[in-house]
Subunit: 94 residues, 7 copies
């Protein structure tokens, strides 16, 4: 299991086919092109100045829109994952 640290979240990027099923999210070519994925695991969250943790605003299973160029790409037990900071998550797709 990959347990993300701090304000990080582990994502599984969606294939083009999965995007179509869940309501196509096509970023137009002009702007920063966010892309979609599913939340696999969340960290403890960002640490505030007073030491308290700010629980992440997303949870396992959420479908999210995120900044395409953010994060670390890792392959674990044959699967590809992305580990991103919570600030790079743009929206939850309900």
């Amino acid at each position: 299991m990959l347990k993300p640290l701090g304000d990080r979240v582990v994502l599984k990027a969606e294939t083009e086919e999965e995007k179509t099923v869940g309501g196509i999210v096509l970023a137009s070519n002009v702007k920063e092109k966010p892309t979609t994925g599913k939340v696999i695991a969340v960290g403890a969250g960002r640490t505030l100045d007073n030491g308290e943790k700010l629980a992440p605003a997303v949870k396992e299973g959420d479908r999210v829109l995120f900044d395409k160029y953010a994060g670390n790409e890792v392959e674990y037990n044959g699967e590809k994952y992305l580990v991103v900071h919570e600030k790079d998550l743009v929206a939850v797709i309900d």
Copy 2:
């Protein structure tokens, strides 16, 4: 539904025609040219140092002036939206 995260807001950019109806907001060519749009959804708001949320100053349905070059462009179920940070909203047009 696109649920924006953190201090983000989902907007629907206005067409030139919609601008005319709602009192033309023509940015002159000299400065940074803001443009107009309608608020579709708001996030929980910015998190302050003490962990509290600062509710966004705009609400669904508000007509707003915003920084033209800000945000992510996304297309969801055939509609084009912009997801911007609240700090890129310049004014509400009453």
Copy 3:
């Protein structure tokens, strides 16, 4: 009506003629040339770390000196306005 957001203020830049009436404010050619305008509307003000608002130090009708290169230029219902951050206001001209 343009309701500025956050620490922003809506200004109406003065014409050269209006400047003369109100005590000429001619910025010399050497330094950053501030210019003059009238406050049309003020926002809620800057949000402090603890979430409180810091009411703007200027009010509607004040004549102000401001940094010439700051802000967004907008035209609303045929009138040209400038939307600037409060920090770009240099002085009130009494």
Copy 4:
């Protein structure tokens, strides 16, 4: 009257002749050359994180040494003034 905003201070730069009378302050050619002036008006002062104002450490009439390249130059009712941030004031000359 020019009422400076925030942590700004309005100064009247000294002429070479005035400098001589008040104890020559000649900045050597090597370093950043500060210059001298008189305080004409002070603002409310810098706003701290908790919203309180930090009263300026100088008052009207003080003779000061300041960073020559700082501030906005303005001419008001035929007189030339400099509006600088308090942090650009180096010392009071007693």
Copy 5:
């Protein structure tokens, strides 16, 4: 013994062979390639604004994924170690 200071952590980078045993973590070639290692020693942790220490979220013996280009490389008593800041640790591999 190397006792890391502040928010630093001492790691032993894994050989390719060790990676295979513990579930291959192969970073794809596209993104920032994190790599794996074992925690040897942790510091007291980051100091918060109020002076308190934020205990590190990892402990001796944890297997971690970290940013490949971070940290100082040192050789101590013939062994090679990496001393990294906690913020450069991406995830714990359970």
Copy 6:
């Protein structure tokens, strides 16, 4: 009298000869070359976020080592002084 403002300190740089008397402090040619001087006057000190002043850690008469490239050079009543920020003072030479 030069009264430094904020966290500034007025110094009198030492001549080579004075350095020898007080235990030669010769900065080697490799690194940033600090130099020595005597404290002539101290300001009220740095202002903390809560508005309190942090009294300077040096006092009039202290012999100090400081960053050679820091500060403003001024000549006052025929004497050359340096006005530096306290953070540019490296050590007190007892």
Copy 7:
């Protein structure tokens, strides 16, 4: 005596020969090459936002690993010392 100011620490860099005696600390050629030294004197420590001092985590006599390119080099009474900020100390070598 050199009394370091703020969060600074005075070090005596180790010769190659001293390194061998204390367990060779050879930084490999790839990364940022930290080097070793002994703590000669510590300052009062970093000042926190609330004005309190954060006592340094090292004490006189500690053997430390530090960032090779940090600090000021000074020669005092014929001896060469390094004055570095505490944040440039990587680890204590027990």
